[in-house]
Amino acid sequence: MEAKVLIPDPSRIKEELINKYPAKVAKKRSKSIVINDPETVPEVQANVRTVPGIITQRGCSYAGCKGVVLGPTRDIVNIVHGPIGCSFYAWLTRRNQTRPEKPTDENYITYCFSTDMQEEHVVFGGEKKLKVAIQEAYDLFHPKAIAIFSTCPVGLIGDDVHAASREMKEKLGDCNVFGFSCEGYRGVSQSAGHHIANNGVFKHMVGNNNTPAEGKFKLNLLGEYNIGGDAFEIERIFEKCGITLVASFSGNSTVRAIENAHMADLNVILCHRSINYMGDMMEVKYGIPWMKVNFVGAESSAKSLRKIAEYFGDEELKARIEAVIAEETPKVQAIIDEIRPRTEGKTAMLFVGGSRAHHYQDLFAELGMTTLAAGYEFAHRDDYEGREVLPKIKIDADSKNIEELKVSADPELYKPRKSEAELEELKAKGLEINGYEGMMKQMQKKSLVIDDVSHYESEKLIELYKPDIFCAGIKEKYVVQKMGVPLKQLHSYDYGGPYTGFEGAINFYKDIDRMVNNPVWKLIKAPWEKEESGSLEASYVTQ
């Protein structure tokens, strides 16, 4: 869609962002703050450690492993091995929903299990307590699987959660028990935890059940965590289209589905950052290609469905998908027609996640809004610049500490779903197989791209750009709103959602309209409305 707003030259803004920092910090930060050019895509420094004392929005490895990837599967009992805080803070705080088929089906999402480590365990070791905790959880629920998550002290005192898990798995017999070394100090952010989680799920779950999956067009949905019911909307669309969802990683998922995932013929990836490892590993071991899709935005959803149809190459599927798009689009268009006159020409900033800052730009474009600046909290360079930079990414001490699984083709189960020739043909048709072009190629020239934006920088950005809406999470929400700018939470959706698919797009348009055109903002004088502030002169020109 056409941009309606000219973006001011951001070089002065960049200068302002870093001039308060000590020289060394300024030098480091300037590599993570870049002025975009979609043609030549400049390098962005990403996935590097936050400098101590610079307040970041990033979380930890444990948060990425337990909170993000493993949390949404409803029938795994997740036991957090450590003192109480870590388990408490990840207790239902992610808004990932789940829908058991029957009310009596297993669902442990509302539980928060912790070994609640005390001083004596730090001194004398906590493995014994962990094993008792596993036994207790088993006796209570007889779950199919129990996962153990290590928090900071565990690695330091030398508790071996993997050995304890193996021992208990053997003892219990009918329960899969496995551990994760996701101590909070590992890696630079939650991203390390995603990788650790992918490894564990791949090693301990995927491939455990070889029952052939039913259905003609079978795929897995990777990197969709069902925040606010997002996965439900995608499931609805798939069902309408006649696409079989074998497993979801991991929104609204079950142990059985994940164990059976290798029976699908395609992996579609939503959040590339958190789950691309799984896509790669399943490709190598089972011969299932993966494709990057985006179900955030009505146009993007339609595009993603067409990509899936093209992959399967079935005319009937193509026709059915076109019929679904034709049926869904008028509802969406009616809402756009109503709302767009009120949102046209407004501006947005997105600093969130490892894929959301990219995906949600599509929804804003559909409302005629321009993204001035965007960045991820925990992504890597490939999420910004595209996967072609992968060979150029420097391996630092932090990434070296995260295990890379050695995966090879399974002697029995490896079956390439498409031949080399077929894959080439699909690529020639414009299908990005096993690829992701990243965020920056889709962003306007002179938009600002900032990795791991600090609290200080985001305040400064608001002061300088005066956006109509800022998208981030709860940690930024109230400081941004204090300055008279509405903040849309793109982690928890401010209790809203779903925002995926066609229904989701409608929800999002309405929510954004309610926020940017809300009368309450007239009662709050933004700092720059009060008097001359040190900001840039307004240089937005409506075309």
């Binding site: 308060k20 444990y62 990840a90 709860i474 300055m483």
Partner: protein
């Protein structure tokens, strides 16, 4: 109750969270966690979800090397960066499980840091040791308050002022306490005062650190106060700020339960009258009269009802005593905290608790509480938002008090203390019972 080893659905939060909250109540103070960045992020998001205000917490961002070789370098670098960006007057440093497990000697690192940097231009630094494998959030809170007083308080000639260590109460409660002390015409130092930092207005200008909080100059004077009032039933003098001031500077310590209910509020006002030499201002006599009147008018709706009460020990003890005052039986008083004092302290306020069928459980979680609920068949739950799942499952109304309240709006503006707070709480309890009646009655009561 089953004796469990693991904790399932905890009824407590971690120690450093309490310390960060207390640091937020000191003017121009940035809380700083020595450990992995995840702790700062989690604690920020949790506090923010309740207070709905920005909360910055810095961290020393441990990595694997730091975890092995110690956090001295990261701490110093972090302090330097926070100082440069925020220009705070104070940095409140609390430890985490990580730095405590590896045994970082923070006071020594701070000493080295000061030596390198030269004292003059540095912000003041408060340090609280808060490993989360020891105690719960309330212990971290008190540790931070005590440490602030130890850092700043100096002795000297006695002044006509008192200290109020009000504990982990709501911003609205803090404002009310300040109003009361002001109306008594008594100079005071209230610590920690996050009434504005965690419940303030929009900003006309940018603030690195939100305005408000107890000034360090006021904390410095706390050693010269004529007395301290400390709200807590279970806090030992050796762990409390008022305890420190008493032993160090001879400032008399008045330990009072949180003033909830008429009796406890009367006790608080009596101490204020004694310390100020002033009678209770008419305004509060009025508030008290209205409350007594409300008790008389509302008793018939709630008398004989049973409640399960949970949360921090001090809050539970005080609310339990209040419930007895209005004829509601707190059949279970539960806490994830484990001071070992809970039963004893409640017994002092409710001597007939055994005959009334009041049970006290320390160190429990929500699974334990739920087991008890099945046996005790209460009419209502009183506590924080974490009781929601139980409330939904057992179709019990939940009256939200304390912290955290993240599934309702305005938790930071709830009153709990004094005649005014009791009035608010009383009205909510009565209305909850009436609403249940209204909902369950086939005709629905539309007039009362």
């Amino acid at each position: 109750m089953t004796a469990k080893t693991a904790t399932q659905n905890a009824c407590k939060l971690c120690t450093p969270l309490g310390a960060c909250l207390a640091f937020r109540g000191i003017e121009s103070c940035v809380p700083f966690l020595h450990g992995s960045q995840g702790c700062a992020t989690y604690i920020r998001r949790y506090l923010i979800s309740h207070y709905k205000e920005p909360i910055d917490i810095a961290s020393s961002n441990f990595n694997e090397e730091t975890a092995v070789f110690g956090g001295s370098h990261n701490l110093k670098l972090g302090l330097k960066n926070v100082t440069q960006q925020y220009k705070p007057q104070v940095i409140g440093i609390a430890t985490t499980c990580l730095s405590e497990t590896i045994g970082d000697d923070v006071p020594m690192i701070l000493k080295e840091y000061k030596a390198i940097m030269g004292e003059a231009d540095l912000p003041a630094m408060i340090f609280a040791s808060t490993p989360s494998y020891s105690g719960s959030h309330i212990d971290g809170f008190h540790a931070a308050v005590r440490s602030a007083v130890k850092t700043f308080a100096t002795g000297g000639a006695k002044k006509n002022m008192i200290n109020l260590f009000s504990g982990m109460i709501s911003p609205a409660d803090i404002r009310y306490m300040k109003e009361i002390l002001t109306d008594f015409g008594m100079p005071f130092m209230l610590l920690p005062d996050y009434s504005q930092t965690l419940d303030g207005g929009p900003w006309a200008e940018y603030h690195r650190i939100p305005p408000g909080g107890t000034a360090t100059s006021a904390i410095a004077e706390s050693g010269c106060a004529s007395a301290s009032i400390e709200f807590s039933s279970t806090l030992e003098a050796s762990k409390s700020a008022a305890g420190y001031l008493e032993s160090e500077f001879g400032v008399e310590r008045h330990q009072l339960p949180l003033p909830i209910g008429i009796k406890a509020s009367d006790r608080f006002f009596a101490v204020l009258e004694a310390l100020s030499g002033q009678p209770m201002p008419e305004k509060y006599e009025d508030e008290r009269r209205r409350l007594v009147d409300a008790y008389a008018d509302g008793h018939k709706y709630i008398f004989g009802r049973k409640a399960i009460l949970y949360g921090e020990e001090d809050l539970v003890i005080s609310v339990a005593a209040f419930l007895r005052e209005i004829g509601v039986t707190p059949v279970l008083c539960a806490s994830g905290g484990k001071s070992g004092q809970m039963k004893k302290r409640l017994l002092e306020l409710v001597p007939d608790m055994a005959e009334q069928g009041i049970e006290v459980r320390e160190g429990v979680d929500f699974v334990d509480i739920e087991h008890e609920a099945e046996r005790l068949q209460p009419d209502m739950l009183i506590g924080n938002s974490k009781g929601f799942t139980m409330s939904k499952k057992h179709e019990l109304p939940l009256i939200r008090i304390g912290f955290p309240i993240h599934d309702r709006f305005g938790g930071q503006r709830l009153h709990h203390l004094g005649y005014r707070g009791t009035q608010e709480l009383f009205d909510r309890i009565v209305n909850t019972v009436i609403e249940e009646r209204q909902k369950s009655s086939p005709i629905g009561y539309t007039y009362m």
